[in-house]
């Protein structure tokens, strides 16, 4: 027991590990920020494509459905391996010559876009059809109706579940370590080799938690606010 505590929690070990793990953690932050920004936009595009009207858009819609089904079902770790090992071996012009971090960001983006697409879609479908009808009856086009009437209402509603998915994404940046990105986890590993102490892992965990807590609190706050708003409207 004493050994265990010492390995993970020795004050000296923790203090000494800070610079190295922090250095790696910055890579996690970088990956999550870029991936989140991309997911935010791409998922909205895929969600809109999935809802397009008309028979001519069927192939596009089918592709969007296949994409979300496939990547929601595939473990991130597999996607990361496929990109990091597969793309360079293809020897293509641009896509085969990216850094491991880029492949990591790509994996996170592709997998999480599939999740967040569903979140957006649920939001779009939660807007009552009468809103669309009212807008179209004013002579606004399908696109204008989406842009000014449906999406603003939908997006407001999906902020909490969207933030929840982003908490998942933040933690999953740690998975990208398997393809050789020098992130917090990798640095913690190097540290344990050099100093025979697991304190680096403890520290990495602390970093992740510290980053997630404000996110989680903010999400709770938004959910509560919405509940109050809806209760207010009922009265």
């Amino acid at each position: 027991m004493g050994k265990f505590l010492h390995a993970f929690f020795s004050p000296l070990g923790l203090r000494r590990a800070v610079p190295q793990v922090w250095d790696g953690f910055q890579t996690n932050i970088k990956m999550m920020v870029i991936a989140e920004a991309l997911v935010l936009v791409l998922a909205l595009v895929v969600a809109i494509v999935r809802g397009l009207p008309g028979r001519s858009t069927l192939p596009l819609r089918a592709i969007a459905v296949a994409y979300t089904d496939f990547f929601r079902g595939t473990p991130l770790i597999l996607v990361a391996y496929v990109f990091a090992l597969g793309l360079p071996s293809l020897q293509l012009a641009v896509v085969s010559h990216q850094s491991l971090i880029t492949y990591g960001i790509l994996s996170l983006t592709i997998v999480y876009t599939a999740y967040v697409t569903e979140v957006y879609r649920a939001g779009i479908e939660s807007v009552h059809p009468s809103q669309r009808m009212a807008s179209r009856s004013l002579g606004l086009t399908y696109a204008q109706t989406m842009r000014y009437v449906i999406l603003p209402q939908a997006i407001r509603r999906v902020v909490p579940p969207l933030l929840n998915d982003f908490i998942g994404l933040q933690k999953d940046t740690a998975i990208i370590t398997v393809i050789g990105v020098t992130d917090a986890l990798a640095q913690a590993g190097f540290y344990s080799n050099d100093f025979f102490s697991y304190a680096g892992y403890t520290l990495a965990a602390v970093f992740f938690v510290i980053l997630t807590i404000p996110f989680a609190r903010f999400t709770d706050h938004l959910i509560k606010q919405r509940e109050q708003l809806e209760r207010g409207q009922l009265v």
Partner: protein
């Protein structure tokens, strides 16, 4: 009179939802500046007919000509058509994330291409007309039902429609709020707006309508001037319907 002498001419319109034939050979004409009231039991097809008039629902058979233009041949741009036809719904359907001002100016700006200033000043005039100039910056959920419905009417009027369709616009209102909305419709009728309205307010229909149409099971069973329809209906079904309405009114009172 020929087809084009009427502002609206509906001929043999059939509308089905699956196997359910909801409109069965509807014939209806509306002249310029006329107010036509559709009455009839729930499910008789009043809303569906109104929604066919601005192609919110495509018709399966028959023709509709509005202002000399056939709208049922699949050639018209529905967005252009709808800009000239205002429709107001029972449930208001204001945009909850927009202020009153934004609700009214959205379509003029985006569909008619007015500048913000032009749209705003036109909206202000309209708000004054409906007596809600102090509510421009409120969100719909801060307004009473009657006020919301007046805003919905203003939103439709902001497109300068040549035809207004009103679908039971007082049915969702508390009784004490019905008057303010009907007053506004009365004003519109006085200014010569061409209107088709579905309503359960028989007293109001009798007062403003130039023509009353009784729908029954997807057909216009009987039509005529309000005095004739309400005082001496020819059809047994019309008599039954009116008797039921009067009965219900008595029960409510």
């Amino acid at each position: 009179m020929t087809e084009t002498d009427h502002f609206v001419a509906v001929r043999g319109v059939i509308k089905r939802f699956g196997d359910n034939e909801v409109l069965r050979e509807i014939d209806l004409t509306v002249d310029l500046h006329q107010v036509v009231c559709l009455i009839g039991a729930s499910g008789s097809g009043k809303s569906t007919l109104l929604r066919c008039l601005n192609l919110l629902e495509p018709v399966d058979e028959g023709t509709i000509v509005i202002d000399g233009q056939a709208i049922t041949n699949g050639q018209v741009d529905v967005n252009v058509l709808r800009r000239k036809i205002g429709i107001v719904f029972q449930a208001f359907n204001l945009f909850p994330h927009m202020t009153v001002m934004q609700n009214i100016t959205l379509a003029p700006r985006k569909a008619r291409g007015l500048s913000k200033d032009e749209a705003d000043s036109a909206a202000r005039d309209l708000l004054q007309r409906i007596g809600l100039d102090d509510k421009a910056d409120e969100f719909p959920d801060r307004l009473s039902g009657g006020q919301q419905q007046r805003v919905a009417i203003a939103r439709a009027l902001a497109m300068n429609p040549t035809l207004m369709l009103l679908d039971e616009i007082t049915s969702a209102l508390d009784p004490q709020l019905v008057g303010e909305v009907l007053n506004l419709v009365r004003q519109l009728a006085d200014t010569g707006m061409t209107m088709v309205l579905a309503t359960h307010e028989m007293g109001f229909a009798r007062e403003v309508a130039d023509k009353v149409c009784f729908l029954d099971g997807g057909v216009i069973l009987e039509e005529g001037p309000p005095d004739q329809i309400f005082s001496s209906p020819r059809e047994e079904r019309t008599r039954e319907f009116l008797a039921r309405i009067i009965e219900a009114g008595r029960l409510l009172a």
